[in-house]
Subunit: 333 residues, 2 copies
């Protein structure tokens, strides 16, 4: 910076002013400084700036360390939005979904003096760690947590999972299904819990029993296992439709049903959740609930940088029902 100042014939502080768009710099001086900067290929040292200002203009993203479609898309959107706002992004993922893993990951971010944190890890162990740590920087969590106490400094942004599950369930009910099973996501995950609640509410409203089949994980093998268990009951006429807590589970289910000789949607209807890229290309095309992950990512960053503007209310984004070919009226016995 001193070199630039020398070339432009000004003090280093004036260079700093130009760099920070300070108003009180004469146009001629600004131009000379800018030219010197270009000539020397100067780039300011951000570590020094961070030290002097106690601000890094960096946000941290904490994410789960797995290849799930939703979180990944959200992270990408957060990063793009942050960059557009002139922020840098540092990312870390968790080795395990327990309290300690979450604390370690959070510390890893705060060690870097991030100006804010976006957490894309909708697991209750993670939120517990956040509550416990009482971070000094703003935190936005992408998780459908509905029991947030009023005035909680941590903000939540999410897709209305409960509503999505309700839509999915009502779609099946409106087709005439009554014997429906929900293959629910693994415990600890807010999305699983909320979808479960939405499902129960819709079933209760229609006066039906809400039968669940808990999946071991979010992945296709678990859906497949569920399908293997459920197929005989479908054949016995005890089940006419399945609402799976995500598309991976739905696809596993579809595969298991196919292997059991069941036709979807003729013998049994299946609904998923997420709308994976390939949902539309599966055989049959999968009826599912689309989550606008990119919107969530953008909203989370806006919330983070927006500061104390307005209310503390969680930002909730609506999912969309996408009806394709894996659902139809139940068989007539």
């Amino acid at each position: 910076m001193a070199d630039v100042a020398a070339v432009a014939g000004v003090s280093h502080q004036t260079v700093s002013r130009v760099l920070n768009d300070h108003p009180n710099v004469r146009e001629g001086t600004r131009v000379r400084v800018l030219e010197a900067i270009k000539e020397l290929g100067y780039r300011r040292n951000l570590a020094a700036r961070a030290l002097a200002t106690a601000q890094t203009r960096t946000i941290g993203i904490l994410t789960i360390g797995s290849e799930f479609f939703g979180p990944q898309s959200t992270v990408l959107a957060v990063e793009a939005a942050a960059r557009a706002q002139g922020y840098f992004v540092t990312m870390t993922s968790m080795d395990s979904y327990d309290f300690g893993g979450a604390v370690t990951a959070l510390n890893h971010l705060t060690d870097q003096s991030v100006d804010g944190v976006v957490v894309v890890a909708p697991h209750d162990k993670v939120t517990a760690a956040i509550d416990d740590l009482k971070l000094k920087v703003p935190v936005v969590v992408v998780a459908a947590r509905t029991d947030v106490p009023a005035g909680d400094p941590v903000h939540y942004v999410y897709v209305d999972q409960r509503d999505g599950a309700r839509q999915a369930t009502e779609h099946l009910l409106s087709l005439g299904h009554r014997k429906i099973v929900h293959v629910s996501g693994p415990s600890g995950w807010f999305d699983a819990t909320e979808r479960n609640i939405g499902w129960r509410e819709a079933m209760a409203a229609a006066g039906n029993d809400a039968v669940e089949f808990p999946a071991e994980s979010w992945l296709a093998p678990s859906g497949y296992a569920a399908g293997v268990s459920l197929a005989p009951r479908v054949k016995a006429g005890e089940i006419t439709a399945v609402f799976a807590s995500n598309d991976y589970l739905a696809i596993g289910l579809l595969r298991a049903f196919w292997e059991a000789g069941l036709s979807v949607p003729e013998d049994v209807s299946v609904v998923g959740f997420d709308d994976l890229q390939i949902a539309e290309f599966y055989i049959p095309k999968l009826t599912t609930v689309r989550q606008p992950f990119a919107d969530v990512g953008r909203a989370a960053l806006t919330e983070l940088l927006g500061g104390e503007r307005g209310l503390q209310e969680p930002r909730m984004i609506a999912p969309t029902m996408v009806v394709r070919a894996s659902t139809a009226p139940p068989p007539r016995n």
Copy 2:
């Protein structure tokens, strides 16, 4: 740090020594300092450290801004490996795959004084930008670039795409196929180019013509479009097998063939590339080439931090053929 020093009754420099595992610190002193650190909940300011040492212990990851399975998995693995080595990770993605977009993204990383960069964006525009910029920090690119000049400071780590394509092609040839078409990936991408070469080599070695059908993108809709075009030729007996440049394309293809009333693998065989999580659950289960993305990520980081150890030769990792149910001998007319 001064506070810690006061509590422990030492100078701040001794605290610094403890923090940096300097050998010449008496055990008793070290313990006292450690206790003071714990008592005060002290965490060192990394911006100051970076300023003093001119090292950030941060590596930058440049990635494409899309939800592709491979790059995403690789990024996750790089992050985990970096964290295990005590490095921080800052990430940025590109808005566009042109030269300018790559330069902007690279500058975004170097502005943060990263100690090294891992590029997970196997596109020729990106490598062109890297060559042009002559970065002062070590760079490792995850891309199957084979024309790297000897002594190039940029190192390349990748899966042997050419070999994978050869395996896929030979698998089809060994089943008896001769009329094979390769649905190739979009231009500019190293993976597409290399798979194309591997395919041609294998076909040439078997004395067959190598017929290609270029896809517009890496995504399922492009595979579907290819399938729509190819289906009549399959029916006419002009094609008995298709090697798609990735699994998304293969799935689009499968869907299009299914809609055209063609059975896979009875009427036509299909091979993909990548081994997506759901490849095993598609109907039929997809025969494909598995890429060990996590291994690549780890290898890239090792290469980056390993420094000038050993040769400059690109690190090449072998893919594995996974034979499932989408391939079979050609129909007997």
